[in-house]
Amino acid sequence: MKIDSGKKGLIINILSLIGFVILWQILVILARNDSFNIPFIRLRDIPTPVETWYALADSMFTRTYGPGLTYGIINHVYASLQRVVQGGIIAFIIGVPVGIGVGYSKLIGNLFNPVIEIVRNMPPMAWIPLSIFIFVFGGSIFIVFIGVIFPIILNTIQGVKSTDPRLIDAAKTLGASESMIVKKVVIPSAFPSIITGLRIGLGVGWMAIVAAEMVIRSPVGLGYFIWNMGDLGRYAEMVAGMIVIGVIGYIMNISILFFQRRFINWAD
């Protein structure tokens, strides 16, 4: 979802969001009044936007009741983000060189491609049981890593392969050796694709971390929060958590897009 920066587009965007929320409220209220029903779906148990809002406000910060405390959404967000950033950085550090190698060199490409092609089709969630078993700690960061690295690798490969051959010719005529060409032409030329790969990868990683957190043993994380609230039957908090997840994923995406537009704006 790309917010159209034109004023008119922005207004329509905001109105549609508001409209959706209103529709949601109406649907649930109607269902609770028995006005309509969808078989096999418990519509009335869905929290209304109003309930969700209150739940969000209540659970934003850590709450203490007697000896017990539940971490606030802020804490959970921070924990999840931390894992995504850490996993993402590792994926970037490993993924980009691999992508460059595979994209540039036929030999390296032939070596790595089979493994890449098979593993990239395993969704990060499929790694969860194994990673719980193998990793004493940091299993969730590994899941993020798996999610982030393949978009990075694939986009890097594409960026490298689509380097304008004329630029390489120009560099050659200017006296650049092959290693210099890779460093000074191929890599900068692939940079927009690399960042796109990072952006897409982080999106995948974000979704993966939430799934992973539902299973790993940590008291903080948005995934754990959602699952916990579900166990307690506190669905409004659960939905609030889901919305937070979506919003943060969105913010991550447009932040990188913004960075791309501002700083890497030479793309045609």
Partner: protein, 366 residues
Amino acid sequence: MKNRIKILSVVIITILIAGCIESKKTPEISEPINLVKMSGQEMVQRLGTGEIAGFIMWEPYPAIAVTKGYGKNLIFSGKIWADHPCCVVAYDDDWYKKTNNSDEILKRMALVQLKSVEYINNAKQSDSPDHAQLINYTMQFGGMTDPVAANLSLADVEFVYNTNVEGTATFIQKIQDFGIFDPMKWNQSEYRNASDYANSLITNNYVEWAVNNKDEDLSKISLKEPVNIRYAYLVNDIHELPFYVGWQKGYYKDIGINIVIAEGAPFQNGAFEMQNGFKANTVDVGSLGIPPVIIHRINSNDFSNDDARVGVIAGMNNEGSVIVVANNITSMKDLQGETIGFPGPGTIQHVLFLMEADKEGLKVSY
């Protein structure tokens, strides 16, 4: 271009460092004990590898962990609150309303419970002729292979059939105090206080009838026509052994009740049993901890059709949970900042742990 890359690198490195610093924060004095949900199997395993410093769980998991040498029993739940009610037998209100002879059925369920409990209490003695059979039942139901563990697990569970309104009211009050109820839902329930709620939840009639008829021959007072009862219980939970005994020894059958294991049973914990069992109308009668009943009859309930409403007809056991810790832990205080396994928020183990922490002035996160 180069300047921008420099700025970006600085930003990224800052985030990285901030992240690493955060995770290596020095523990403050009042760091909470972190409860993390996991299965009983995981608890035993993780305690063994040292990933968690302890867990609180129903038998037989404490017994298993102790006999394997992974840890030791720190506090029995009976120490936290003597004779506290634990698991109960409950029926689904929707089932009750639409079944003609539900009262007759429930009377007999209570009677089987009584008989099973009496059997177990006799067979618990090591010189009883039924002792070996009891140990076998325990191992089968609890998923154990070690008879020593089986014996150990029976030791601290008090099997009962009586209902306990007072204990239930205490639980409700605690759950209220710990802020576990969804305030909006609580208001919708219109219960005035803990006692009010407890009284509306529990009926003693069936146990009374069972006590009066306990010497009768089961087949003489069986139902005229056998009925199917979809029954739910918790996985590997020794607390619910009476159900297993009644089932295996044929008490239910003799009295005209055909036990069908409900869809999804055995459940991981009481929350699932309430939400995916009772509320979903896949369970007619089931056994589970009283706190999940208390919590989910409110939080997970749709008050326009009361689909999560249940009634408690008999007790199942008292006590029978243990806080197990690694061998180098000496007290609850040592658990600060550590990760402790528990079966999930809203379970009785959760509430008990909070109660104990409260006594010692410690903080618990969940």
